[in-house]
């Protein structure tokens, strides 16, 4: 069966990567940081309290035992407890994860739509001012630090459209009477627009570049000349032959740049104080809340590995030549 070989290899690779990520996660947090508790920034902690905490986190056992304990906890989905809120990390991180996924999805949607549009137009009108203009603006946004772009958004754009510039929920909502799900949804959406737009603008430049060069390469292929020889109009040739081949690299690019997207979203959430996993990470850094940091990092890594596996499978479906 053609695909089984390829899918098998990809899933095996993803599983191995997950294992490595978990181990790296353990090494980063439990061993290298020496004694997490000692780094705890609590001035008035008594020695006894620190001992109790070490006990709690099982730091007194040997590294190897800690690792086995860590793996067992992980198997039961128990990511340990937040030092700050004493709540289980999984419970703490779930709602922000949902917020981030929603915002990142909207942002990536913006960037893909802008990216493909600008990429195709630039390739199509190669060498004209449209090509140069599209490319330069894409690259300009791509070169802006997301947090800075966020600040500019707040400074200039928010005022214009009366968009909220912080948080996820309008504090006044629901006081006068419980708001319908539609009002909650619209409110959520309005809160997401600015961060998502910022993320979208920062990313669309790279996608535009990739789509443009893939398009140019496709337009140079002989089967495009065959299509023209068959009498297809320029636009129809691009639509049936050019676009599909040009979009192939986008699939892998989105997955690969997910790491960057999540990175960008951390700073954007911080600027817009959007309650996503990014904000959690920032606060966890301030309070040295290692379990949260470790949990967040693990979730992000798994998300990226999952996205890459998805991208590989999607690529395999789109391109018949891939036989693994």
């Amino acid at each position: 069966m053609r695909g089984f070989d390829y899918v098998g290899k990809r899933v095996l690779f993803a599983a191995l990567t997950v294992f490595v990520a978990i181990t790296l996660n353990f090494v980063l947090f439990r061993t290298l940081s020496g004694d997490a508790v000692s780094a705890l920034r609590c001035r008035q902690c008594t020695q006894a309290f620190k001992e109790y905490q070490r006990e709690q986190l099982g730091l007194d056992k040997s590294k190897w035992e800690q690792y086995q304990l860590y793996l067992e906890d992980l198997a039961h989905g128990n990511l340990g407890k937040s030092l700050r809120s004493e709540q289980p990390v999984g419970h703490e991180l779930w709602p922000p994860l949902k917020n981030t996924v929603a915002m990142v999805a909207l942002g990536t949607f913006f960037s893909i739509v802008f990216g493909v549009l600008v990429g195709v137009v630039c390739a199509w009108r190669r060498g004209t001012w449209a090509d140069k203009g599209g490319l330069w603006s894409g690259l300009a946004f791509y070169s802006m630090p997301p947090q800075w772009l966020g600040l500019l958004m707040v400074l200039f754009v928010a005022g214009w459209f009366g968009l909220p510039t912080a948080g996820i929920k309008d504090p006044t909502l629901g006081i006068l009477g419980d708001a319908s799900w539609w009002e909650v949804f619209v409110d959520r959406l309005r809160h997401m627009i600015l961060p998502a737009l910022t993320l979208g603008l920062v990313l669309y430049g790279e996608y535009a570049l990739v789509v443009r060069s893939a398009m140019l390469e496709t337009l140079g292929e002989d089967y495009v000349l065959t299509a023209r020889a068959k009498g297809l109009s320029n636009w129809r040739t691009v639509r049936t032959h050019g676009l599909r081949n040009a979009l192939l690299p986008i699939v892998t690019l989105v997955a690969l740049s997910l790491g960057f997207i999540i990175g960008g979203s951390i700073t954007i959430e911080y600027v817009f104080s959007y309650p996503g996993i990014g904000l959690e990470v920032v606060e966890a850094i301030d309070q040295r809340d290692y379990p949260i940091l470790q949990g967040a990092f693990l979730l992000l890594t798994l998300a990226v590995i999952g996205a890459n596996l998805l991208a590989d499978l999607l690529y395999f479906k789109l391109d018949p030549r891939v036989s693994g």
Binding site: Y223, L225, A229, K230, G231, N245, P320, R321
Partner: protein, 327 residues
Amino acid sequence: MTTPLLALEDLNVWFELPGGGELHAVRGVSFELEAGERFGLVGESGCGKTTAMLSIMGLLPPNATIAGEVRLDGENILARGEETVSPHRWNDIAMVFQGAMNAFNPVQTVGSQIEEPMHLHDVAEGKLARRQAEELLERVGIPKDRANRFPHEFSGGMRQRAAIAMALACEPKILLADEPTTALDVMVQAQILELLVSLAADFNLALILVTHDLPVVAQVCDRAAVMYAGEVAESASIDALFHRPKHPYTRLLFAATPDLRAGGERVASIPGAPPRLDKPIVGCPFQPRCDSAFAPCATETPLLKKVGEQHVAACHLNDHVREPATA
């Protein structure tokens, strides 16, 4: 004299070079073609034969400029460029490319790509189109169940056959073939040439075979034009070209071509190289390499002159012949 199916009248093509200046790739090509006739366009790399062929279907890149006429059934289809030529594409004139490997879109099945022109030119739709595509595949020697396979699953020879099937999708009057067998083994080449000849007969198809391979033209075509430096050096029946060449380049080209029958005698190479086409050419372009050049060759440009029945040549050796040049 009835109007010929296809007539090229002093076709010229220029390419704007990136660094400025112009490359005069085709410097005046004229020939005629009747229905069902097999015509060879022969010449070495850089002589403009491929550009001339692509001009017939107006498939030139944007940096190209065309002059002269390409008359299909008497109508100049290049009159207003893309606008006048595109309706005839694949309907009347179809093409098979050399690199059959990437003449197909790798991410679509071969069957759907054969059907595509049928939908476009309303030759057939849906079920009927699929059946016709399968018939065409069978006609070129490919089992019809391979219609929904992808191009990378075909061998070199099979892909070229499928390309020929695709060219016949809208039953064109003229089939242009650019080096169709150059990349194939001699045995598979024989199969493809045999197929082209039988299809030309069955569909009363006029065939233009563009190639650098003189023996292939000798075995497959009725008439041929030998091109050098962007123009026709000599055009005649194949028999006349080999046995009664009236242009030194034709003679030397045949002499330089190895042949099984030629016993042990050595093959002569032609010294020098073709002239640069981005600079104006004075006199006969072949003069620097010609073994029988004399006084006028360096200064006067020889014009295509009638030197026999359906036989024209552009060489001062024929100056004594009185009739004016007729295409």
